[in-house]
């Protein structure tokens, strides 16, 4: 077969060139929409900063709509398509199934994203990311969403087809590698997500055209969140796969137990999408049984999956570092980790912040009773900036620093800027999440243009601390924007002006051959293998997990204490 392949000199993986081109196209489109969505995000944050209050109300809601769509959906799904093609065709050493269909999917996604942005900027579709009926957007807003969803669905089908190609052509033996299994998890959740979106957006599109007269608001909200929240669960599965990939490529890390990690992904497949019910916790039309079963991710099995990954990813890094001889004390492996490598530092910060900020706050909000303290307050965007931005976006930024030399075959320009970028962005995003959660705890409503209620018929005075939180949130957003600009400058500069890479590149600290991955392969090659580290000597990780649990339990019960003060039982 005259398929075009090249062998990666760094990983030894066979790269199908049509797949490589699709990875490049999707990654570039993702970064463009991140820049656009990030710009709108800055405008939103500067408006919610009371001392600045940048935009008038109509522009604020327009910018908020565009920000939500471009970063929560477009940037992330484009990047996930790149991850799916990498995790299938590249890691399984096979050809991509039907590249033409994949290109058709890409074109549909691009057209859909552009149409949605145009619809929003025309000013007739300021309906927020959620577009709750009976608010009505212009018909091409829904059409753009549908085109984007169909394109993404085609990408998922190409991924499944590539799994079949790899199995039929026997390009791997036994089971698929863990990173591919994580991508499979993301693709499965994506199919459910997109199907749910189609179920509700097709009638809503017809309603916007006047063909259908009525959409039930409760049914809309229920089905829409099967898409809206599940789309964020695609991110979770994808960024966990990215964590494993970076740990493998930079340090040759293998999961502590591949079987246990795969079981954790199975919990995601079965239960993660159920968390959509978080958004229905104060709706009177559905029962407490439905709410509690679903928001506990089917009694916390999906949360257990995240906690397993939260232990096995740092555990695999610790095991790899100890194999390299960093065995002094319980934290030498962590102190001497490659903190100057933006792929590693971004990944590790994503891991920590996703767990401590996004994860803990997500479980707290998923508890029906204590959800009442912060439902529809700024705590909610604080939480999901902890998961989607600190978790997913930072992880995707981190792997970009490996994609540029391996797929674009370019050296990074401005390596010092790249080195500091994850820290600047990570610090900014941590501030955004924490200060929004702080403001939300003080009762500040989400999606509100003016917390001073100037000129309102029924004014309300928030405490001074709430204004402080909003100011600090604005400062953090400026910092995160600087980090975002650093990322875009390095990526665009490297792709267009970076020196061409010919031979192998060093992705992580050098290690003796035969040591890094516990095999005779170079470190980076471990990413395409099935197998476990085969050790449980990870005392540093156990200590870190202990700290996590203490924080988790304390914060959980602190919120019950808050609830008891708001709603005293006498």
């Amino acid at each position: 077969m005259a398929e075009a392949f090249r062998t990666c000199p760094t990983t030894g993986l066979k790269v199908h060139l049509p797949a490589e081109n699709l990875i490049k196209a999707n990654a570039v489109a993702a970064v463009v929409f991140l820049a656009i969505g990030g710009f709108f995000g800055l405008l939103v944050a500067l408006t919610r900063w009371p001392a600045v209050h940048l935009l008038p109300a109509d522009w604020f809601y327009l910018a908020l709509t565009a920000h939500g769509l471009d970063v929560l959906l477009v940037w992330i799904i484009f990047f996930e398509m790149a991850v799916l093609y990498f995790a299938s065709a590249v890691l399984l050493n096979c050809r991509l199934a039907t590249p033409r269909v994949a290109w058709a999917g890409f074109v549909l996604m691009l057209a859909g994203a552009i149409i949605v942005n145009v619809a929003v900027l025309q000013g007739q579709s300021t309906v927020m990311f959620t577009s709750y009926v009976p608010m009505k957007a212009a018909p091409h807003f829904y059409l753009g969403m549908l085109l984007f969803a169909v394109g993404a669905l085609l990408g998922c089908f190409v991924f499944f087809g590539t799994l079949v190609v790899a199995r039929e052509e026997r390009t791997y033996r036994g089971s698929i590698p863990l990173v591919t299994f994580g991508a499979l998890t993301a693709a499965i959740i994506a199919v459910f997500t997109i199907a749910s979106g189609a179920i509700i957006l097709i009638p809503t599109f017809l309603w916007s055209l006047g063909i259908i007269q009525h959409i039930d608001t409760m049914v809309y909200k229920t089905v829409w969140w099967a898409m809206g929240h599940s789309s964020q669960q695609i991110n979770v599965a994808a960024h966990v796969a990215v964590w494993y990939a970076i740990a493998a490529m930079v340090l040759g890390a293998k999961p502590i137990s591949e079987k246990v990690s795969r079981l954790a992904f199975l919990f995601y497949i079965l239960f993660l999408q159920l968390a959509s019910a978080h958004h229905m916790l104060v709706e009177p039309g559905v029962s407490s049984e439905w709410k509690i079963f679903n928001t506990s991710y089917a009694m916390y099995l999906a949360v257990l999956g995240s906690m397993i990954h939260g232990m096995t990813v740092p555990g695999s890094i610790e095991a790899a570092q100890r194999r390299r001889g960093l065995t002094n004390g319980i934290f030498e492996w962590l102190r001497k980790a490659p903190w100057g490598n933006p792929a590693f530092s971004g990944m590790f910060m994503s891991l920590v912040m996703f767990g401590f900020i996004g994860g803990i706050s997500g479980v707290v909000m998923g508890t029906e009773q204590i959800n009442l303290i912060m439902h529809n307050t700024l705590y909610v965007p604080g939480h999901f900036h902890g998961t989607v931005v600190a978790g997913t976006t930072l992880a995707f930024m981190a792997i970009t620093y490996l994609v540029i030399p391996l797929i674009f075959r370019r050296e990074l320009v401005m390596p010092r800027v790249a080195k500091w970028q994850p820290y600047v962005f990570g610090l900014g995003v941590a501030g955004i999440s924490l200060f929004m959660m702080g403001a939300g705890t003080l009762g500040v409503a989400r999606r509100h243009w003016d917390i001073t209620f100037a000129g309102a018929m029924l004014p309300y005075d928030y405490p001074g601390a709430a204004f402080l939180m909003m100011g600090l949130n604005g400062l953090s957003a400026v910092l995160a924007t600087i980090g975002g600009i650093m990322y875009v400058v390095v990526v665009v500069g490297s792709v267009f002006f970076g020196r061409r890479v010919e031979g192998p590149v060093e992705l992580g600290p050098p290690a003796p051959r035969g040591v890094a991955g516990g095999s005779d392969l170079p470190a980076a090659e471990v990413v395409g293998q099935y197998g476990s580290a085969g050790t449980l000597k990870i005392p540093g990780t156990v200590a870190l997990v202990g700290v996590f649990f203490v924080c988790f339990v304390l914060y959980y019960f602190v919120n019950w204490k808050y609830l008891s003060e708001i709603w005293p039982l006498r």
């Binding site: 409760m218 049914v219 229920t222 079965l270 039309g285 099935y530």
Partner: protein, 56 residues
């Protein structure tokens, strides 16, 4: 070309364990990943909503 070094664990009688077979079957996983949220979130939720009596 590197190949996956892993092989599915095989039980004493030569059979591949059930969990291994489940996890190695992407289309069964796809079916389950759609079935569970469809039943527990979508169908159950919508059934409760449509049973709300219409105001007279």
């Amino acid at each position: 070309m590197p190949e996956s070094e892993g092989k599915p664990p095989v039980e004493g009688d030569g059979r591949v364990p059930f969990m291994q077979r489940l996890l190695d079957n992407p289309f069964l996983l796809l079916f389950l990943g759609i079935l569970v949220p469809t039943v527990f979130y979508l169908l159950w939720g919508i059934m409760e909503i449509v049973q709300i009596p219409v105001a007279p």
